[in-house]
Amino acid sequence: MKDRLIISGFGGQGVMLLGQFLAYAGMLDGKRVSWIPSYGPEMRGGTAYCSVVISDTSIASPVVSRPDTLIVMNSPSLDRFLPAVRRYGIVVANSSMIGHIPKLDRDIHLVSVPAQSIAEELGAPKASNMVMLGCYLGIRGGPSEKAVEAALQKAFVDAVKRPDLIPINRAAIERGRELAQAGNEND
């Protein structure tokens, strides 16, 4: 198993955290992982993205130019990275922030999730990244639930000392997972 991801969105949508979350959970599952952020002024307001690799075997290049998985939180990200997605790759798109999703004539599996609306329904508008994460977990079937739970602890307890945020983020992940699985059944 080897998944090369690009995760992209506006600065502030939590794409860096989402990438680190996945890398950390992957590491706990015993996988080889790497995470590279885009850095610099674009972090503030513009498009921010990170590259993540999760693999059973050692990672040669941690730089992802052709992703297997693209997680996009806004329109500019989709426009920028869609052409690079590999054949039989998957795209998870935040339809709350992407008005028009083009028809794909290549062999790419597209899952569109209104992540922002779902997060707001849950009363956690900042948790749209966790809805996207749940969706990824639903499609790829990993990292494990145990690792995801440990990553939640690290992200909200160790890092920011806000254990109260865990239940709502866990719920956001679950909603994303359900939607992805429902989508898969419809295929």
Binding site: A23, V33, W35, G40, P62, V63, R66
Partner: protein, 355 residues
């Protein structure tokens, strides 16, 4: 048993490695993309009983390093390309006064203010001296977050062994990247006491830390002494990693981030039936010239891949000495070459061999 792994940025792993290696003094000035290093030092150095100072400039930082090194401490500074240019005078003085220290350059694109994205365009500056005068640094080129930690630990010992600054030459990509890293307990080598340090004259004749020799005969003797150290480094400290198959046709050479990318290139070309190898220098000075010389006599061509317009390739050519063609493939200005474009370039060379 598997060692405990932590997910860390390269910059953080380097800072942590330094502290574990006994570095207790860090002087730095902010510059992207190495800001995690001073941030980590500011947070953790006081807990280790050490000192962190945000200096007023790169010049001040490297000269604080000089003072602390001259007082016998394990000391470090880090910066990125433009900041390293500013430190060059100080680095020249450090070599001249034979002071050990570790300097990290997390390279970004140049020249001038350039950009902030990763680059390898300070290769010449790092391995050929950089500042004024006839000198060399030991230059270590990590290619993973784990090596950012491990080579930094090694750097402190090498600096003390040779009484010479050691440079960690990383790039923005390695500094910003997160990978799992495990820290093993640092075992310091047996090293001679720093009886040359300026610690007060109690119980001994006074010590002078200096690089001024106004009498040319004395300065020449000093230069010859330094040269002998550089020759010893060449004999003892060459480090590289290679994966060269039997009957290798094309040898890739690359360091740091580009070497990681080249491993995927090698896999891809082998899947297509080509015999391709990779040699990754870990020490850029001393350069693995003997090994490249040996290998070049049994391959059909060499291609060097760098994030610059062609710098290490000059040293590869010097080692190959015309035994086979040496090609270059590079991106620069903060662009990172993709596996696909390197495969494309290599493909052209491999097709040329068949014709």
């Amino acid at each position: 048993m598997k060692k405990k792994q932590v997910l860390m940025k390269g910059n953080e792993a380097m800072a942590e490695g330094a502290i574990m290696a006994g570095c207790r003094y860090f002087f730095g000035y902010p510059i992207t993309p190495q800001n995690e290093v001073p941030a980590h030092m500011a947070a953790y150095m006081p807990r280790a009983g050490g000192v962190f100072i945000q200096a007023e400039s790169e010049l001040a930082a490297i000269n604080m390093v000089y003072g602390a090194a001259g007082a016998g401490a394990r000391v470090m500074t880090s910066s990125s390309s433009p900041g390293i240019s500013l430190k060059q005078e100080g680095i020249s003085y450090l070599v001249g006064a034979e002071l050990p220290c570790v300097i990290a350059n997390i390279m970004r694109g140049g020249p001038g203010l350039g950009g902030i994205q990763p680059s390898q365009s300070d290769y010449f500056q790092a391995v050929k001296g950089g500042g004024h005068g006839d000198y060399r640094l030991i230059v270590l080129a990590p290619d993973s977050v784990q090596e950012m930690a491990d080579l930094t630990m090694l750097a402190f010992d090498l600096a003390d062994v040779y009484r010479n600054p050691v440079m960690i030459l990383g790039d923005g990509n390695l500094g910003q990247m997160m990978e799992p890293v495990s820290f093993c307990k640092f075992r310091k080598r047996k090293l001679p006491p720093k009886d040359w340090a300026t610690t007060g004259t109690a119980g001994r004749p006074r010590n002078i830390v200096k690089s001024l020799y106004l009498i040319p005969e004395q300065l020449e003797a000093h230069n010859r002494k330094l040269y002998r150290k550089f020759q010893t480094m060449k004999r003892r400290e060459v480090r590289f990693e290679e994966d060269i198959p039997e009957g290798c046709e094309l040898l890739l050479t690359a360091f740091g981030t580009t070497a990681r990318i080249c491993r995927d290139v090698v896999d891809k070309l082998r899947q297509r039936g080509h015999k391709v190898g990779l040699l990754r220098p870990i020490t850029l000075f001393p350069f693995p010239e003997e090994r490249i010389k040996e290998v070049s006599s049994r391959v059909k061509a060499v291609m060097t891949v760098e994030m610059n317009m062609g710098q290490m390739v000059d040293d590869v050519r010097l080692a190959v000495e015309g035994r086979c063609p040496v090609h270059f493939c590079g991106r620069t200005g903060g662009m990172v070459p993709s596996v696909e474009e390197i495969v494309h370039e290599a493909g052209k060379i491999l097709r040329g061999m068949k014709e």
